[in-house]
């Protein structure tokens, strides 16, 4: 396999990982407009719960399930108790979600301690396959596949049901949505919980890719999620996917050829995209 192809595949895999974090945020931040700084912490919770259950039962599938459920529960509680009164109020959201981020992160340390925890790949997904005679890890193919599935699933959910438009409308004018006979609060709770569940799901799937978990895992990955959403166009779901792919590939190539600037590349790309097209690549001007 040529190096370029290898890098490209790795880029896609990385993009797919970023997307798994970003997809939930793209609902919560992109559609509902909540600047959710606790998103990464939910992602981390998913990973930790998933790991705990996986280790206890030996079943990765159960781990994924448990992690996702944990995320949904956390999201539901977060929305119900805290976020609900502050839709549309970015300033309050920042303070609130930063507080939640701290609490969730400290919670991880309380339950699992501050140290690294190894996260092994399930046996079936360990190892490499040869692509054009060069080895490529199976797990990475798995993450690409999962990323695609999630993309299609959520896209269908948003376009085939009324949820997509209810959220968009509800963010702009919740009162009017209510007056049309829709329980907008419940929809918001559901979507928020769903977004958190997706984050947690992403956490479990990403865990083995990271190889180990640490409590600050969320913070480190959350920035990338924000970046791809902004690059793709806030509120534009396919945009988030495109942004993830773009960042994944560019980052991989840069890291290889120009490691000195690789650290800066995603933020620099975001700045360039915004200056050139303020609404994001697929975003529409308001």
């Amino acid at each position: 396999m040529s190096l370029t192809l290898n890098l490209l595949l790795n880029g896609v895999a990385l993009g797919s990982l970023i997307f798994l974090i970003a997809v939930g945020l793209s609902l919560i931040f992109g559609l509902m407009g909540v600047l959710n700084f606790a998103h990464g912490a939910v992602f981390a919770w998913g990973a930790y719960v998933g790991l705990a259950v996986y280790n206890a039962t030996g079943s990765f599938l159960l781990g994924i399930l448990a992690g996702t459920v944990a995320g949904i529960v956390i999201g539901w509680i977060m929305e119900r108790l805290f976020v609900r009164p502050f839709y549309g109020n970015h300033v309050a959201q920042i303070l609130l979600t930063l507080g939640l981020m701290i609490i969730l992160t400290e919670g991880i340390k309380m339950v699992w301690g501050p140290n690294l925890l190894g996260f092994d790949k399930p046996a079936a997904l360990t190892g490499v396959v040869d692509i054009l005679s060069d080895p490529f890890p199976i797990y990475r193919i798995f993450t690409i596949g999962i990323g695609l599935l999630v993309l299609i699933g959520v896209h269908l959910l948003l376009t085939r049901t009324r949820y997509g438009i209810i959220i968009r409308a509800g963010v702009q004018d919740p009162e009017m949505v209510q007056a049309l006979g829709i329980n907008v609060r419940r929809v918001f709770s559901l979507v928020f919980a769903f977004g958190a569940g997706l984050a947690a799901f992403g956490g479990v799937v990403a865990g083995p890719s990271f190889g180990s978990l640490n409590p600050d895992l969320g913070m480190a990955n959350q920035l990338n999620a924000f970046i791809v959403i902004v690059i793709g166009g806030i509120g534009n779901f396919p945009g988030a996917a495109l942004g993830s792919l773009l960042i994944g590939i560019v980052q991989t190539f840069m890291a290889y050829y120009l490691p000195d600037v690789a650290m800066a590349i995603s933020v620099a790309m975001m700045a360039i995209v915004l200056i050139w097209k303020p609404e994001g690549i697929l975003g529409v001007r308001r």
Partner: protein, 334 residues
């Protein structure tokens, strides 16, 4: 009528006198240090409030200016070993901040809302990365230690009064700015930007000016911060530092100017207090948890920050202005 409660000169005079008495009442150098850092952070947060509370723009890169100030002082003083260049360093910082604000502003101020926030975040990250990469100049993560400052600042009481005076002057300066016709225009921009435009104001110029003023003030605070710490490293460009400004402003009350001072005090002392307790009481070991809870409690019970919420309660009788932290603009042009 406007926020009489807090911006009343008599009241402020009283607070000032009380603060002036502190060094005579307590001989704790540590308390003075804490207060000095509160004063400096208060100036930094007030400068942020000019953007957030008055111009209505959420910057995620405010620490760029703080960091510029901190590094100017740190690098100049340690490279030249000339403590008296402090004023030159601060001047450089202020001019540098103005220039950088102009450049960043030009590139990003046309972009609205969260998009603006994200661009500024990108710039802050770039500054952070540059300071990491250019470690021969900035000292990188390990930083520049042994920054020599004028001996004058080594006397904690003198430094205390300098910092207090600095706070007082900056407060009066910023209050004047927000109450001037210029400041009024900023507030109108916060409320409805395109309407201001259609009244014939060049919005970009006002926003740029506000970013520059705010940046210059933050740079001064950053410069004095290095004088206090005698140390500077890449942390001054880290996201955390911007979040500090954001938190202190929000906790105190957005758009109140005096609020950030309160916020700086509350956050600094709560931080110190909780982290000190944590080493004494095992159940407080995870003290950050309580810090997180503090944020949430403040949002839930003081939705407009401590001062903002109290002020609102008072103002209802007068039926006066509203400094809504975040106005959702439902109306469109058409």
């Amino acid at each position: 009528m406007r926020a009489k409660l807090f911006n009343n000169n008599l009241w402020l005079g009283f607070v000032l006198v009380a603060l002036c008495l502190v060094p005579f009442v307590s001989s704790s150098k540590f308390l003075l240090t804490m207060l000095i850092s509160v004063f400096l952070m208060a100036v930094y947060s007030m400068s942020y409030d000019l953007l957030l509370g008055y111009t209505g723009i959420v910057s995620f890169g405010h620490t760029i200016f703080f960091g510029l100030g901190a590094y100017s002082v740190g690098i100049l003083l340690s490279k030249t070993k000339q403590p008296n260049l402090i004023w030159a360093a601060i001047l450089i910082a202020v001019v540098g901040a103005a220039v950088i604000a102009l450049i960043i502003g030009f590139l990003s101020l046309r972009v609205k809302d969260v998009y603006f926030s994200m661009i500024t975040l990108a710039f802050a990250q770039l500054f952070f990365i540059i300071s990491e990469k250019w470690s021969s100049f900035t000292g990188g993560g390990d930083g520049i230690a042994y920054v020599r400052v004028p001996t004058f600042f080594n006397d904690r009481v003198k430094f205390y009064f300098i910092a207090l005076a600095f706070l007082a002057v900056m407060y009066l300066f910023l209050r004047r700015v927000v109450n001037s016709p210029f400041g009024r225009t900023l507030q109108a921009i916060r409320e409805n930007e395109q309407r201001v435009e259609s009244l014939g104001y060049n919005v970009l110029r006002y926003k740029l000016a506000s970013l520059m003023i705010s940046g210059c003030v933050a740079a001064m605070a950053g410069g004095l911060w290095t004088v206090l710490q005698k140390y500077v490293n890449t942390n001054v460009f880290a996201m955390d530092r911007t979040i500090d400004a954001l938190l202190m402003t929000i906790v105190g009350g957005v758009g109140t100017l005096f609020g950030p001072i309160v916020g700086a005090g509350v956050i600094t002392f709560a931080h110190e207090w909780l982290s000190s307790l944590s080493t004494q009481y095992p159940f407080l070991e995870r003290w950050l948890l309580f810090f997180g809870i503090l944020y949430i409690v403040i949002v839930m019970f003081f939705p407009k920050g401590i001062l903002g919420t109290i002020r609102d309660k008072w103002r209802y009788k007068g039926g006066s202005r509203h400094a809504a932290s975040d106005s959702k603009r439902r109306e469109s042009v058409l």
